[in-house]
Amino acid sequence: MQSESHSHFSSEELARYSRHIIIPEFGLAGQQALKNARVLIIGSGGLGSPSLLYLAAAGVGHIGIVDFDTVDDSNLQRQVLFTTEDIGKSKAYQAQQRLQALNPHIDITVHELRLDSQNARELIRGYDVVADGTDNFPTRYLVNDACVLEDRVNVYASIFQFEGQVSVFNYLYPDGTRGPNYRDIFPEPPPPGLVPNCSEGGVLGVLPGIIGSMQALEVIKVITGVGEPLAGKLFLFDAASFHTRFLKIRKNEALTINELIDYQQFCGLDKPELPVPEITVQELDNWRKNGVDFQLIDVREPYEFAIAEIGGELMPVGQISSFLPFISTDRKVVIHCRSGVRSARAIRELQNLQPFDNLYNLKGGIIAWSQEIDQQIPQY
């Protein structure tokens, strides 16, 4: 992928990149390829933070950052691009400022937008390589398909709790053929709710540091042609055991991608969920004060219960059907989780199993209880 076009390195740049340039396999040609490259990083969160830092430091000449989000305090345990002072500010612009301070010799373009089927192809067309560090299935399939349609390499990484995955999709081999893509491993996304994301299931902060750095490594290898890119293979890393594994990806020749589609619909996220009866934390507080007879159920995980609890009976949402005999039918039942999403899902599942008409979702979950009723309850 090393480009034929040349630009000149200033003496400051030569000094800055000297540890690259003196690697025989890398040399000035490798550094020149980095300088000529245009790389689009989609998502500047857990994975985007380390990959952006390393790619900017390495001297990738033009970096695009796609992110519409703002910095939240729960990001700072892993998103090392940002500081406490950045809370509430635009991730993409804060990232640009930090990276420009790290390396003033490169150009950085901010795309503060939500990537969708209307803008993805045109945006990706303007770059040589894409690195996917998004946090949801619709965008992962969108990025994959847009890269296939625009003939761009997609350097993929994803994480959850202690586990990470890395691969190089749609790689251009010297014979002109393209390597496998994401759909060759996972043809379709999981049904909604079956695979939790990091905000529901958590992630060890250092994990995206490791996996995002590997993503940056693969981007550099693709650009410079140095080393052997992770094409046709999926690399798995289990941080808990330090086990690693390479899995072969078999290209499915029958699978074709002809156009971008509605990815929310593809992932089953376009259907409005049936509303469930709700009560507010003030109403629940009044029920308690007035001695109303009700059952309170907490559908979070045991480790969340250990952080903060408000006296509910623990019945994790993943096993809620097995708790059916313990759920009252002759009095009101209030079900809560952290924010109200999982408890609504639990109510729908229970109503599918049995015609309950006494289940109430606690609006805003334990977070709302902490904010509005009892500030002694920790928020997490």
């Binding site: 996917d132 959850f160 695979v195 990091c198 798995l236 899995l247």
Partner: protein, 109 residues
């Protein structure tokens, strides 16, 4: 003589255990099945293996297979590092020393 017989029995038992396919799980599956552990299963087909695993971890089979018994599209099964070919009926052959690896898509970033 009794001691020798005893030692031989242990050896043969351990050898027979080692001749069973080994099932390994991706870490992310522990989210829904927290007690999940890798292990050897006495089974001669992939479907039989999943039946055994489901008895040990109820619900795991329906997480991996859809209502028609096909492999869910976000799940992959690897046999000795190679993805299975038959996602519809799981007819890929397994041997006594096959490593069966179950993994799934992750979305976090």
């Amino acid at each position: 003589m009794i001691l020798l017989h005893h030692v031989l029995s242990i050896f043969l038992f351990e050898f027979s255990v080692l001749q069973m396919p080994q099932v390994r799980f991706t870490y992310a599956l522990k989210r829904f099945f927290p007690h999940l552990q890798d292990g050897r299963i006495d089974a001669s087909s992939l479907m039989e293996t999943l039946h055994h695993v489901d008895r040990q971890y109820p619900g795991l089979k329906s997480y991996i297979l859809d209502e028609q018994g096909r492999l869910r599209k976000h799940v992959q099964i690897y046999l000795d590092g190679e993805p299975i070919r038959d996602r519809e009926t799981l007819g890929d052959p397994i041997g006594p020393e096959t490593e069966i690896y179950l993994m799934q898509a992750l979305s976090g970033g």
